[in-house]
Amino acid sequence: MSHVISVTVENKPGVLARVASMFARRDFNIHSLTVGPTEDPSRSRMTVVVDGPEMEQIVKQLYKLIHTIKVTEHKPGEAVEREIMLLRVNAEPSRRAEILEAANVFEAKAVDVGATTVTFEVVGEPSRLADFHEMMKTYGIASLVKSGRIALAKDSKSLTKKQRRTA
């Protein structure tokens, strides 16, 4: 079972290395990790997707890092989660129309078209990316890259809280 955590850290050089080193040393498995700026220039926020049962230890060990300010574990449905995927699919001219039509269902945007491939950009919930990925396998995937997940806890008075939006 994967868990999604947000880690607010001081925006200092090397803070990513500290987090990565701690995960390696403690033998915790990272599924994806993203880091970037926040509303406060002195803070960065990491979204870490981790596998495994050691959530309590992971949170505690993150807090032990001096530059960690806050760790939040997002329960399913309690955060807005997004990921971006660039997917290049084999698309001979004869199948191109079919592929573009299929992509349309997922609101996938064609961002590069070559002689025999089309590259799509899909933004959305991880499940939607997974579904699109699955569908495109039929045509043969030339290459794929994912951003890793970002997450933001929903407003405590959120109207969409606990309602999982499906793709």
Binding site: V9, E10, P13, G14, A17, R18, S21, M22, R25, E56, Q57, K60, Q61, Y63, K64, L65, I66, H67, T68, I69, K70
Partner: protein, 572 residues
């Protein structure tokens, strides 16, 4: 307007403001500027022979004094030589600040002479570390380093300062502010948990107080002893907590674990409640955690929340400083008892007294046979009246010292517990003696350990630090040999050293120390008496010991603590 100082001057002034009186180190190119400022500073510098020695000295100093130990090293190899002492201090939660110099900020990443990625190398072996590239960042970095090293769960902090930051100029007005928004260690325990802990203790029939090194670090010996007495709790002290409650105390059961006392380990196994104060369910204590203290509920007091639930699920977690929490526990218990005394639990104590009676620590010293290390340790204790700081290396001699010394006070037992660093004793003893010049400091070392770090006795002789080192020379890497004997069919692969090479007495004399030797049991006491009379230089006592002696009791690594071997025959 505050005065303009060089980075090196700011470094030294900052250390003085932190109350540093002694620094253990060795200069080099990148750190030259700091050493130039040290020349004018009232801080004492102890010139070590190897940076590893400087790191362990800082640790020994911190252990003995309770203050932060400080070590200096230059860039590159100077800094990499600190890796072992930093890892050692990290495992044992010892407050140490390491100051290393780095190549100039303009050279970082260019593979400059004596460049190493010190920040990256030291990250997993420090509580925190930082690279300082600007002169005006030095003062706050030092202040924060001392704060982090000494508060919460103590530990080593490394500050790496570039050569150009040390040479640059900046204003200096002293630093009082700490800007660490993510670092707020808990001190007091949660009152609800404190209350729940007292309720559990009052209900329990077979409690054991499990005292760890955190109690020593928190300066909570008086409190833990008072709490044991108030609640009438039998108490075990882990390897890192020896002396937290006096060994002579009626409630003290000694050390538990792999080479612990039968009674200490067995009482934990049979307990219905363990009250862990500042210990971490280390594998040397628990053996296989699946079979450890199977009937016991757990109260766990620790300043580090990550220790709670790491190995063993806990019934009552209390995050806080051991001393503060023990005071809360005492207050709460006093209130609840309301003038009554706690249950005496006579059935439980009857069983404990029977174990103590049936399985005391024991050894035989044949007057005509080879010297037994336990005998040397007991004679050292007798000759000093136990009034000494004992520092051990790692191995058989360490276990026997812990078993047989009889510790009455905290901070009188210094050893490498978590990392198990061979070679720790000599430099740590030098550091302890530098911090406590009026105390007798006795290093108990093995011949294997001694040959790793004896060069720091040159430091001790040159600096007038009169440590006394007892080398238990059994011409072997004794603990490894013991395992080979017990578990590897007597195949003594690469454990044999030599009684005569090096000649330890000649070596001692060559290093400016007094060298003494005892080859037979009757020579032990006179040798100790001679050594204790020499105070103008370090003394090395060599005891030619029995290579076949083995440490018992013993629980197999990862084994079940119900199965305690008391002699080699038990293992057959």
């Amino acid at each position: 307007m505050p005065e303009q100082l060089t980075g090196a001057e700011i470094l030294l002034r900052s250390l003085e403001l932190e109350g540093v009186d002694t620094v253990f180190g060795l200069p080099g190119g990148a750190i030259l500027k700091a050493y130039d400022s040290l020349y004018d500073s009232p801080i004492r510098h102890v010139l070590v022979r190897h940076e590893q020695g400087g790191g362990h000295m800082a640790s020994g100093y911190a252990h003995a004094t309770g203050k932060v130990g400080v070590t200096f090293a230059t860039s590159g190899p100077g800094a990499t030589n600190l890796v072992t002492p930093l890892a050692d201090a990290f495992m044992d939660s010892i407050p140490v600040v390491a100051i290393t110099a780095q190549v100039a900020s303009t050279s970082i990443g260019l593979d400059a002479f004596q460049e190493a990625h010190t920040w990256g190398i030291s990250m997993p072996v420090t509580k925190h570390n930082t690279l300082v590239t600007e002169t005006n960042e030095i003062a706050p970095a030092i202040h924060e380093a001392f704060h982090i090293a000494a508060t919460g769960r103590p530990g080593p902090v490394l500050v790496d300062i570039t050569k150009d930051a040390l040479a640059g100029l900046a204003a200096f007005a002293g630093t009082k502010t700490i800007d660490l928004p993510g670092y707020k260690p808990s001190v007091k325990g949660h009152p609800r948990q404190v209350n729940a802990a007292i309720d559990l203790i009052l209900q329990s029939e077979r409690p054991v107080l499990y005292i760890g090194g955190g109690t020593i670090r928190a300066g909570a010996s008086d409190e833990v002893t008072a709490f044991a007495e108030l609640m009438h709790l039998p108490a075990v002290t882990t390897l890192m907590a020896r002396g937290a409650i006096p060994d002579s105390h009626d409630l003290a059961l000694g050390m538990p674990g792999m080479h612990g006392c039968y009674t200490a380990s067995t009482a934990m196994q049979k307990a219905d409640l363990l009250i862990n104060v500042g210990a971490r369910f280390d594998d040397r204590v628990t053996g296989d955690p699946e079979h450890f203290a199977p009937e016991a509920k757990i109260i766990h007091v620790d300043v580090d929340p990550a220790e709670i639930g790491k190995i063993r699920a806990v019934d009552v977690p209390i995050v806080g400083d051991a001393r503060a929490v023990l005071s809360q526990l005492i207050d709460r218990a006093t209130h609840k008892l309301d003038g009554q005394s706690a249950a005496k639990r006579s059935d439980w104590f009857t069983r404990i007294r029977a174990w103590q009676n049936d399985h005391p620590l024991a050894y035989d010293q044949d007057p005509a046979g080879p010297i037994q290390q336990q005998y040397v340790i007991e004679e050292l204790h007798k000759a000093t009246g136990g009034n000494a700081i004992v520092v051990a290396g790692v191995g058989q001699h360490q276990m026997w010292a812990s078993q047989f010394w009889g510790f009455e006070k905290p901070n009188t037992w210094i050893n490498s517990g978590g990392l198990g660093t061979m070679g720790y004793a000599v430099p740590a003893a030098v550091g302890a003696q530098a911090g406590m010049p009026d105390e007798t400091v006795i290093g108990i070392d093995g011949d294997g350990c001694f040959q790793m770090t004896f060069q720091e006795l040159i430091t001790a002789a040159m600096e007038g630090i009169p440590v006394k080192i007892a080398v238990m020379n059994n011409a072997n890497l004794g603990m490894v040999r013991q395992w080979q004997k017990l578990f590897y069919n007597d195949r003594f692969s690469a454990t044999e050293l030599s009684f005569t090479n090096p000649d330890i007495v000649m070596l001692a004399e060559a290093m400016g120390c007094a060298g003494l030797r005892a080859e037979t049991p009757d020579e032990v006491t006179p040798t100790i008496e001679k050594a204790l009379a020499i105070n103008d230089r370090p003394v090395v006592m060599e005891f030619r010991c029995d290579p076949d002696a083995m440490v018992f009791p013993m629980i197999k690594a990862g084994g079940n603590n119900d199965v305690i071997y008391l002699s080699p025959e038990d293992l057959e």
